[in-house]
């Protein structure tokens, strides 16, 4: 109701309150403007059909009835912690995304980038199978690379991981892919 009134509201006169803020009369519709071209501001949460196409996704879909363990994600600032359940069989990247944790997965979990980089506790790192050559290649480009770094999309959750703490690397200002700091040459 108030919207209808609002829609047709017109300012009656210029108001100049003390303090000097000048109010300009105008007529403004809160609905989308009619524009001659097909221009359309997409409203939030618009339903759009997804297109099919060749997509590569990493990690199998693990059902909600899968057994779970508990893991902790330590955020890049070093202090915030998220204690969440991880389903056996999913990847750590999937765990993070299920809980809306801010771990990027630019390539959607197919080992083609380094954005899901996590730093593991040494005990966990030592007990995992060796990373593949592809994963090592991608890790080379990760910022904040440590001795116990792994890609979240390449680690499958197992019962032995119950209680582990996973550190998300702090973003650094060093933007060279190999961590190098260049000097003029």
């Amino acid at each position: 109701m108030i919207h209808r009134i609002a829609q047709s509201a017109v300012i009656l006169r210029r108001i100049k309150p003390p303090g000097g803020v000048v109010v300009t009369p105008c007529y403004y519709s809160i609905w989308k403007k009619n524009v001659p071209h097909q221009f359309d501001r997409t409203p939030k949460n618009a339903q759009t059909t997804t297109t099919t196409g060749i997509r590569w996704h990493g990690g199998s879909a693990v059902g909600a009835d899968a057994p779970t363990i508990q893991v902790t994600f330590i955020h890049p600032n070093g202090t915030d912690r998220s204690v969440v359940d991880a389903r056996i069989g999913e990847t750590l990247l999937q765990t993070a995304h299920r809980h809306d944790i801010d771990l990027e997965g630019a390539c959607e979990g197919v080992c083609a980038c380094s954005t899901c980089h996590l730093i593991l506790p040494s005990a966990m790192y030592d007990n995992l199978p060796e990373p593949s050559e592809d994963e090592e290649d991608m890790l080379d480009m990760a910022f904040g690379l440590q001795e116990t770094s792994r890609l979240g999309c390449q680690i499958t959750v197992t019962p032995e991981m119950d209680g582990v703490e996973l550190r998300m690397p702090a973003a650094t200002r060093n933007f060279y892919v190999d961590g190098h700091k260049p000097k003029p040459h």
Partner: protein, 532 residues
């Protein structure tokens, strides 16, 4: 005491609300609509302004900036409008036109970015060139923050004598844009074809043809790999169809040259491994690295670089190249890629038959001097002649200042001077702030993911400034009305989706992700067409 339907501290969102306040309470309100007076209260219908941010450029830096800005506002329960303005009809910048066609998984990030426009309500304005169709100054009058994420539109040149005049010297940037189907670079095909010897059957190797690629980054290796694989080797990818008859089944010989050693090489191991594996994968290309050049590059200081904190990636590259150099060369392959080190381009040798073209690049052998992580190439006085029908310069992309940016431009580093992404603070009530993200901010380095911390830093600066504003732009126009005044047809997200759907429908091969439309007029026509 005033109460209202919305926050009366007026965080800045346009919406209708009512304020009940005592008549004698004459605090300035930001904006007021109709008022009625009654008894001891004023009922005032108010409008409050939405925060509006414009991001110029929809490549990875622009899209990550939009993503983190939206995420920060969501987290703080704030609202605002984000408009992404893109020069081309299609978004995503180098993700679409830079990433090599045989790296399709790297392009998966597009799905993440699609969600910004489809679910998060971020607005897309394609086919609008800031600097030409609308100025940065006009944008700053409408928006509270304007972020420039336009990347690099130019490249560094060697500057050797006569370089500008030879028709068969191109930049790698142009070559990559051409094979990726960029509508502004279709004309490059003619030059490449003329250099390589005319049109050719898709199945035939260009025997006797040599190409030299100057540079030791991933772009140089991508160019070499695409030239070696040829259109035939990339048939099932989204490489543009106009490439097939130009590259055929690949060129016989590609040399990649750079002035420093393998430990200084800017390439990453994945791209080197792809060259090493070409033969094994059936592309009939042998890969050659000379052991002597690896030895010459293994100076005491370079070896120190291997041991440094950042040395891990380089150690693995060193190991890979050493094992490649140790393998016996298979001379039976019709094609060959040579990765050369410690050769500094010295002069172009014009062709005897046609002085408007080069037929070789003469390089000077170098040696390395200087401390670890600062090794310099110094000439030795020995020269080597590398024959070439085509030369590609891949020594760095470069940004040019767009109109209005000259005062802020650093002409030595080719970036915009900024402090954590901030170029100019907003002027209360008059001009939005100016910010940069991506290559325009830090120079042409890094991978797609490097834009993540970069964008977060710029977003933090924007939020800082927005949070401390006291007065807001009154703004009576918005971008669309500005564009309509000038007769500019902006393309919205739906328009891009029409292009996207058409490209996925009309493929030359079933396994292709898409067949790119390379003609600008056709792109726009497809975008505006409302039916299938």
């Amino acid at each position: 005491m005033a109460t209202s339907f919305g926050s009366c501290r007026l965080q800045r969102y346009w919406r209708w609300g009512a304020v009940l306040r005592p008549k004698h309470d004459q605090q300035p309100l930001r904006l007021a609509a109709a008022t009625t007076t009654s008894a001891s209260v004023n009922v005032v219908l108010i409008r409050t302004l939405t925060r509006k941010v414009a991001i110029v450029g929809s490549g990875p830096s622009g899209c990550y900036t939009a993503k983190y800005l939206r995420a920060a506002w969501d987290k703080n329960k704030e609202d605002g409008e984000i408009d992404v303005i893109e020069r081309l009809p299609t978004p995503y910048g180098l993700v679409r036109y830079g990433v090599a066609p045989d790296h399709p998984e790297v392009k998966n990030v597009q799905n993440d970015f699609d969600a910004l426009f489809e679910k998060e309500g971020i607005n897309y304005y394609g086919n609008v060139q800031v600097g030409r169709d609308v100025s940065i100054a006009s944008l700053r009058e409408i928006y509270d923050a304007v972020v420039l994420a336009t990347g690099c539109q130019s490249d560094r040149r060697l500057g050797l004598e006569g370089e500008k005049n030879y028709s068969n010297i191109l930049s790698a940037r142009e070559f990559v844009a051409w094979y990726n189907g960029h509508p502004d670079f279709v004309h490059i095909g003619e030059k490449v074809q003329a250099a390589l010897g005319g049109p050719i059957d898709e199945d035939k190797v260009r025997d006797g043809v040599s190409v030299v690629v100057v540079g030791h980054g991933n772009v140089a290796l991508d160019c070499a790999r695409v030239l070696a694989k040829g259109g035939k080797g990339l048939y099932d990818t989204d490489i543009a169809s106009h490439v097939l008859q130009v590259l055929g089944n690949g060129v016989a010989h590609v040399s990649i040259v750079g002035r420093r050693g393998h430990i200084q090489g800017a390439f990453t191991i994945k791209e080197v491994r792809e060259l090493v594996n070409l033969q094994e994968e059936g592309f009939a290309v042998s890969f050659v690295v000379r052991e002597e050049e690896l030895d010459m590059g293994a100076t005491k200081d370079s070896l120190e670089e291997l041991e440094s904190a950042a040395g891990r990636p380089k150690q693995r590259i060193n190991k890979l190249l050493r094992s490649a150099a140790a393998k016996k060369l298979d001379d039976n392959q019709p094609k060959r890629v040579d990765l050369r080190f410690l050769l500094s381009p010295s002069s172009w040798e014009p062709s005897a038959d046609d002085p408007s073209r080069i037929e070789a690049l003469v390089c000077e052998r170098t040696r390395l001097e200087g401390h670890a992580c600062a090794q310099r190439a110094v000439g030795t006085g020995e020269f080597e002649r590398i024959p070439a029908h085509l030369a590609l310069l891949s020594i760095g992309y470069k940004a040019d200042p767009m109109p209005g940016l000259e005062n802020h431009f650093d002409f030595e580093r080719y970036t915009v001077r900024n402090e954590r992404g901030r170029v100019e603070r907003p002027l209360d009530g008059r001009l939005g702030g100016l910010y940069v993200a991506g290559w325009l901010k830090r120079g042409p380095s890094g991978i797609i993911g490097t834009n993540i911390p970069d964008a977060k830093e710029t977003v933090a600066s924007i939020l800082d400034d927005l949070g401390s504003l006291e007065k807001w732009n009154e703004r009576e126009v918005d971008l669309l009305s500005l564009l309509q005044e000038k007769g500019i047809q902006a393309l919205d997200w739906g328009a891009y989706r029409r292009i996207d759907e058409k490209e996925k429908m009309h493929k030359r091969a079933e396994n292709q992700p898409r067949e790119k439309i390379t003609d600008m007029k056709e792109l726009i026509k497809t975008a505006l067409h409302s039916s299938a």
